[in-house]
């Protein structure tokens, strides 16, 4: 929300009992029920912090002017406050925050132009009420750094005048290029009754929720109509009294006038409507687009584009911009891309990442910057374990889960004398360890080969010498293509069954073809998975791109849908991280793997299937699901993750 104009509207309250530091933070709350209100105010404060507005226009119902509307443009508001109505609760509170003379002057100028009686105060001694000072000093801007423009309630103004003032505030801030927040200090459900325990009950509070909901949904006309009707229907006792306001204390009438101003502000935002709608969801998608691994990056990028098509190019109902980055399979390049997206493009989400070492460099950078990260492939055990983070989700798996599934299947089949092979690097050892977590049979030998090795003839001869009953391997990308071809060429394909993980998939099948026939794989998803979302994804993908999608793609497709579900849940308020995280935790979207839930560490709990490479209807080799190995399988590291929810 980098555009100017009103960027935030807050319905704030200033009941003396929880309007001081002691009451708010030192635990001496007058009444436990205020806890929720206090937390709401603290949340508003945090929101103002992330919003970092250039100015706050605050309208407190205790700052009353009888004839003109007073706009206080004093450049510096400093003084010592004792609340007029509650000297014993708020006394001797020093305050010193800047003002915004330019904005106040512009506001008064607009008011005068529109024929509204108003004066511009520019006087250090202009008295501010506790309704103006306390919410700012205690909750909204404790550092007292943001310029504040108090604006009074005008007793003799009618509803339309208050409404007009609202629109002027919105337009003045936009014209000056200020990113301003409007604070209405006092709530709709104000109840002028003695005794804190008889504070506005559920019915009155409902008014607040109703108004907030109407404004949030952008239903300004309805809000306008509702407020007028509330006044007419005398639903509220104190509001009913308003009509004979001459006879009632000024508080009651002031309430309605302020409501009109709030509404005016909000409706005034209509002018700024475009600004709000202009807010786009920016997603940074980092993967490997160049070099030998570029093909995997292409699968992911195409799937993201397809997801956007299915969402009508709008994530969470907002315009969406996806910025792709090529990490060239290098962790430091990945990190630099993440920095660029966070600081330069100011993205709201970062997603993608194929390789574990790149993920371990990028994820902490993103979550550290307070941005939500949705991983769509790499599943290093650290991120499912002690490095799990509230802002980090993955729509794939934890690396070890797939070999665990294969280990379980081979254990259940009672296979023995297995020959295990993998490249000599961290992921290779993870795979074999994951396999051994469930496979308890005899392992003839564990062979680790050079990373990126091309010729496996020596290892194949060695393997044949040991004549094992089965072979388990992990050879991703080009290593897999070479190993499979050489394994078949050595004539072992029909002698010793080959079981593998992350080796035979839709990115390598085109290059391996029949040499993969009969190969067993374990995976959480396959193009032939029978569920409506997956079938739609596969069909549309083939139609749009002309090749079969892989799990790399399905995970990325799900990642975008997850983000969409979160943004939709918070109604497009991208600053509401907590709300989005809560929404994501529900995994409330039509995933290609079917219904699944997130574990405590934000790693999916999902099924794992046994796949086999068979001759497809079209004649080429494809993977088909044979049976389910695990139902709702949890990763092996979630107990290391401290998160509880």
């Amino acid at each position: 929300m980098s555009h100017s104009g009103l960027v935030g509207v807050y319905l704030s309250v200033h009941t003396p009992r929880y309007c001081t530091y002691d009451a708010a933070f030192a635990g001496k709350l007058a009444h436990p029920d205020f806890q929720a209100v206090r937390d709401g105010l603290v949340a508003q404060g945090r929101h103002v912090a992330t919003l970092a507005p250039d100015a706050i226009v605050i309208n407190s119902c205790h700052l009353i002017a009888t004839f003109p509307t007073v706009v206080d443009g004093t450049p510096r508001h400093a003084g010592v406050l004792t609340a007029q109505e509650a000297p014993e609760l708020i006394h001797g509170v020093a305050y010193d925050f800047p003002g915004d003379f330019e904005l106040a002057a512009a506001l008064v100028e607009r008011g005068r132009a529109a024929g509204l009686p108003c004066t511009l105060a520019n006087d250090v001694h202009y008295p501010l009420d506790y309704g103006t000072v306390m919410p700012v000093v205690c909750y909204l801007d404790r550092a007292q750094r943001i310029p504040v423009v108090p604006i009074s309630v005008c007793l003799s103004a009618d509803l339309d005048e208050s409404f007009a003032w609202g629109r002027h505030i919105a337009r003045a801030t936009a014209a000056l290029g200020r990113r301003a927040a409007f604070v209405a200090s006092g709530s709709v459900s104000h109840k002028l009754v003695r005794g804190p325990e008889r504070w506005p009950g559920a019915a009155e509070q409902e008014l607040d929720h109703r108004l907030a909901q109407l404004i949030a949904d952008g239903e300004y006309d309805k809000a306008w109509a509702w407020l007028r009707s509330v006044v007419r229907q005398r639903q509220l006792r104190h509001l009913a009294d308003v009509l004979e306001f001459r006879a009632k204390p000024k508080e009651a009438s002031v309430r309605v006038l302020r409501l009109m101003m709030i509404l005016g502000v909000v409706v005034g935002l209509l002018a700024g409507q475009a600004a709000r709608a202009a807010e786009t969801v920016k997603i940074g998608f980092i993967t490997s687009l160049s070099g030998p691994a570029g093909v995997i990056g292409k699968h992911m990028k195409d799937s993201v584009e397809l997801a956007l098509d299915h969402l009508g190019r709008k994530v969470g109902g907002l315009d969406t911009e996806v910025i792709y980055g090529d990490d060239q399979r290098k962790p430091d390049v990945g990190k630099q891309l993440a920095d660029e997206m966070l600081k330069k493009h100011k993205v709201n989400f970062v997603s993608g990442i194929i390789w574990s070492n790149v993920m371990l460099a990028v994820a902490p950078t993103v979550t550290g910057a307070g941005t939500i990260m949705v991983g769509t492939n790499a599943g290093p055990h650290e991120l499912s374990g002690k490095m799990c983070n509230e802002l980090y989700f993955t729509t794939s798996w934890q690396n070890d889960q797939t070999p665990e599934a294969m280990g379980k299947y081979m254990q259940d089949q009672g296979i023995n004398d297995v020959y295990a092979m993998a490249p000599n690097y961290a992921a290779g050892k993870d795979m074999i360890n994951g396999f051994k977590r469930y496979f308890k049979g005899r392992i003839v030998d564990e062979v680790y080969t050079k990373l990126g090795q091309q010729d496996y003839q020596a290892e194949i001869s060695q393997l044949r010498g040991k004549n094992p009953k089965a072979v388990f391997v992990f050879y991703p990308g080009d290593m897999g293509i070479q190993f499979l071809k050489q394994y078949a060429q050595a004539g072992l394909r029909d002698q010793i069954p080959l079981y593998s993980v992350y080796t035979v998939d839709e990115t390598t099948l085109p290059a391996v073809g029949d040499a993969a026939l009969g190969n067993f794989e374990a995976r959480y998803w396959s193009p032939d998975l029978k569920n409506e979302a997956s079938q739609r994804y596969v069909a549309d993908f083939k139609k749009k791109f002309g090749y079969t999608p892989s799990y790399y793609g399905a995970q990325s497709y799900d990642g975008i849908l997850l983000i969409d579900s979160a943004v939709r849940a918070v109604k497009g308020d991208l600053s509401d991280k907590k709300g989005m995280v809560a929404a994501m935790r529900k995994a409330d979207f039509k995933s290609t793997r079917g219904k699944f839930t997130f574990n405590v560490n934000h790693t999916p709990i999902e099924n794992f299937y046994l796949l086999r490479a068979v001759k497809g209807p079209g004649g080429e080799t494809e993977m088909q699901i044979q049976k389910t190995i695990f139902e709702n399988h949890k990763d092996a590291y979630y107990h290391e993750c401290p998160m509880k929810w």
């Binding site: 687009l289 160049s290 630099q336 660029e340 600081k343 460099a361 290093p380 961290a426």
Partner: protein, 315 residues
Amino acid sequence: MRSRARVLTLLAGLLALGLVPLVAALTQQPFYLDLFRRIMIFAIAAVSLDLILGFGGMVSFGHAAYLGIGAYAVAIPAFYGIHSGLVQWPLAMVLSGLAALAIGAVSLRTSGVSFIMITLAFAQMLYYLGISINAWGADDGMRLARRSQFGGVLDLTNGYVFYYVVFGLLLTLLWLGNRLVHARFGVVIRAARSNEPRMRAIGFSTFRYKLAAFGIAGAIGGLAGALLTNQTEYLTPSYMHWTRSGEIMVMVILGGIGTLYGPVLGAVAFLLLEDVLSAWTVHWQVVLGPLLVLVVLYARRGLWGLLPEARRADG
């Protein structure tokens, strides 16, 4: 004595580098801070390589190994809880310097292409060693939980402070490098490149000086490694892969060998091009490749060489 054009370009360049943080602050784009800090770190590595490559004629194709050692010298102590930069950075320079001395002792017995290949061989050995040691993350690498601490005096987590630390180190390196290159030690190295047999005939046993230069270059490379780990808060053995040594070499040659300022220009040009082109098209390498060829064909002494030279060849 350098030509005016070169002195002006040099000053303008260094001034620009110094002002980047200001520009970044004004345009609300802190990203440029990270981009140029990374460029300066590689400039330090390139200048250290140029000490032996440009001035000493020792074409080391394994210089990235010392960056790797420097990086590990920061990450491993941090892994065990020692976060003080005052321990890590000197350790990085000492360890990489010693490694360079050891590798140099063997490599300097060869010359020409054999020297290029043997230095490459040792770097690849360190690379494969790195990816097979599980205790330190092997290929997955290690995360730097906290950047090097300097007892609150220097807070590297603050982008601007870290930027000026790197900038200061680059300036110091250029200054000290300049002194070294013109002092007796540097003269011996440069003369050995010009005519080794003649050096032996007039009484210099050049081996010990070349080895010392190799060690110094390795140590500064180690410092660059330490900075790089703090920059990316992460390190993997892939920092030591031969293609990374190739990239540092390209920066030196692209900038112009045999001058301390060439490699800085080379680093800026190469990494900026990489960033700009890759943002423009995913096929950026098809543009960068021919560009390098053109530089070799038409800018014979590198980009720095394009600037008019001083009247008398400055030795």
